[in-house]
């Protein structure tokens, strides 16, 4: 197992290198001058040149890439041009917000999608199936920010159940923190839930036809046990892969959700940094988000073996 994990990790190194390469050059291709944006009106060319030099922005791109990659490997993501703070510090502050938001969204979406997907499969092609699937697909069909604003309007302003803005870390005050996160997490979760529900439905359908399910029933097991223990665990493998891939959607969705719900996460930071052409911040953030995504998928790969022990690691 350990061996396998290490090999998977090594396998990700070239991918990560390409990711870093893409991040760097993509960001540098963005037109606009960070120094100009930062200094605004009164900046004279000499000031701009001095700041550029200080930031190392005057060197050839490949050299800048080398320097950046070298320090990133050492855990130094550079200093934000705009705030003059270490990018890693900003990431460290914001990462927990995004990760709690997305994890909570993941949780909500699984709570929503697995049962619906399962029931839809069991009641395949009946009214119940249609109802469940329509319900989840509706969630994926509306634009996130609109859904977010509507839910704020209804649940926060009209009903007063949740606060409309702000953030309290759940590790500081769990229940209060949760009230700030529920609306954004549910909004974010809806998108993923639909996809996962569909995947669960189709892999359940596939599994339910298999002989070991009949076998399990022939043993006299209750239908619940047959569905959950025997069918779901097997159906979960493909679903899990989808979840891994969908996690990227969550991270992407966080960019929007965090703006709508005023959450101080990575997504909002990325957008602010892109608009300010804050190269080190954008590079650091996107690389970090890609890294999270890759790690999540690695975890998913490893978890897969639990659901499908046939995958051998040799």
């Amino acid at each position: 197992m350990l061996n396998y994990s290490i090999r998977r990790l090594l396998y990700f190194i070239p991918t990560l290198f390409i990711v870093a390469f893409m991040v760097f050059f993509l960001v540098r291709l963005i037109p606009g001058d960070p120094i100009q944006v930062m200094l605004g009106d009164g900046a004279n060319p000499e000031t701009i040149a001095a700041v550029r030099e200080k930031m190392g922005l005057d060197r050839p791109l490949p050299i800048q890439f080398g320097i950046w990659l070298g320090s990133v490997v050492k855990g130094d993501f550079g200093t934000s041009i705009q705030t003059n703070r270490p990018v890693l510090q900003s990431i460290r502050e914001r990462f927990p917000v995004t990760i709690t938001l997305t994890t909570l969204a993941l949780l909500f979406s699984l709570l929503l999608s697995i049962p619906t997907g399962m029931l839809a499969a069991v009641y395949r092609n009946t009214g119940k199936d249609y109802f469940f699937m329509l319900l989840t697909i509706l969630g994926v069909s509306a634009p996130v920010f609109w859904l977010g604003l509507l839910s704020l309007l209804v649940f926060s302003v009209k009903l007063g159940w949740f606060p409309s803005i702000g953030f309290v870390p759940i590790w500081e005050d769990f229940w209060t923190g949760l009230t700030y996160l529920i609306l954004p997490a549910v909004t974010l979760a809806l998108h993923m839930a639909a996809v996962v529900a569909r995947m669960t439905r189709s892999s359940m359908l596939e599994v339910l036809r298999l002989e070991y399910i009949t076998h399990a029933r022939a043993k006299g097991l209750g239908e619940g046990k047959v569905l959950i223990k025997h069918a779901l665990k097997n159906a979960f493998g493909p679903t899990l892969t989808t979840i891994g891939i969908q996690y990227g959607q969550l991270l992407g969705g966080a960019v929007i959700t965090e703006s709508v719900f005023s959450l101080p996460g990575l997504g909002r930071y990325v957008m602010v940094s892109i608009h300010a052409r804050d190269y080190p911040a954008v590079q650091g953030c996107i690389l970090f988000m890609a890294l999270i995504y890759v790690v999540i998928n690695l975890v998913v790969d490893l978890m897969y073996t639990y659901f499908d022990p046939r995958i051998e690691y040799n």
Partner: protein, 325 residues
């Protein structure tokens, strides 16, 4: 002795967009304790569906047991509430599946799956369950049984897996064992061993078996009685010896003639194996009258229009054919 299992006039249909498939269309069978009944026929003739009907495992939709009666020790299974039916499955009636490769859940260990039925039906501790499972695995001659408990199905060979299946089926000492082609997927050498094992266990526990197979050799060796099915009906039923020696129904006759017999030593120029002409008819569109008539070599006019009745053609020997009516 009373019948342990009695199937009367069972009809199981499948309702699909293409039409209604009458997979089992009036089957009656009975089984005495400890008896082995061979159920033979070409694929698609309704053997497996009959078995699944006994356990009420026909998936609904599209399948449905339309009518009939299935009594286990005098109790009508089709009238039982679902919950009581579940108590019978795996306990009083168990089943062995055709493909050991796909009938075990790949996601759980052998031990886990073996103990499941035991823990569901018997109030015993885990430790005790483990003991009984190990004991049973030893009985089916699985080496180092204890270690195997932690193995996943994919760690075992096909033969081993089928032994596990048999062990599981016999673990609760069922009154009836439904064995659906239990050896088809196995190598010939293993086949014999596995069958031997089944007989040994039935003798020990007095379990009755419905042995579904298309392999007449196996039936000849092991069953006491044989029922031949064709398009959802039993067309001939007889003690094994009678059937093999004097098959009455043209279909049975054909079946038997299509089996190579090794001791007939005809080196060159030997007569080619018999082949029943035509194909098994489409279940959605059965021929009128006797459904075998388009392929029958001894067809009479009435065969085209009317169903043949059951005819007593010998002691305990029944055939559905106009030849004898």
């Amino acid at each position: 002795m009373d019948n342990i299992l009695d199937i009367q006039d069972l009809h199981t249909f499948f309702y699909t967009p293409e039409g209604t498939a009458k997979a089992v269309n009036g089957v009656s069978l009975s089984l005495k304790p400890g008896e082995i009944l061979g159920l033979v026929g070409e694929s698609g003739c309704g053997k497996s569906v009959t078995n699944l009907s006994v356990l009420r495992l026909i998936s609904d939709p599209p399948g449905k047991i339309v009518s009939g009666k299935i009594s286990l020790d005098g109790q009508d299974l089709l009238q039982l509430p679902k919950r009581d039916m579940r108590k019978i499955r795996g306990d009083r009636i168990s089943m062995i599946f055709q493909e050991p490769m796909i009938s075990l859940n790949p996601a759980y260990t052998i031990g886990n799956q073996l103990m499941e039925a035991l823990l569901t039906h018997r109030k015993i501790s885990r430790a005790e369950a483990v003991n009984r499972v190990v004991e049973m695995l030893q009985m089916v001659e699985i080496p180092s049984a204890e270690k195997r408990l932690k193995d996943y199905p994919h760690h075992l060979s096909g033969g081993m897996r089928q032994r596990v299946m048999i062990a599981e089926a016999m673990l609760l000492r069922p009154q009836v064992l439904l064995a659906d082609e239990p050896t088809t997927a196995l190598d010939v050498t293993i086949q014999a061993q596995v069958l031997e094992l089944m007989y040994k266990l039935t003798e020990e526990f007095d379990t009755a078996i419905i042995l579904v197979t298309h392999n007449l050799g196996i039936v000849a060796e092991s069953a006491q009685r044989v029922a031949v099915m064709y398009t959802g009906r039993v067309i001939e039923e007889a003690p094994v010896k009678d059937l093999f020696e004097s098959p009455r129904h043209p279909y049975t006759n054909g079946l038997l003639r299509s089996v190579p017999v090794p001791d007939q030593n005809r080196p060159a120029g030997r007569e080619p194996l018999y082949e029943i002409e035509g194909i098994v008819p489409n279940l959605f569109d059965l021929p009128s009258g006797c459904s075998f008539h388009p392929r029958c070599s001894r067809i009479k006019d009435i065969c085209r229009h009317e169903q043949p009745p059951e005819v007593e053609v010998g002691t305990n020997h029944m055939a559905r054919c106009w030849l004898y009516a």
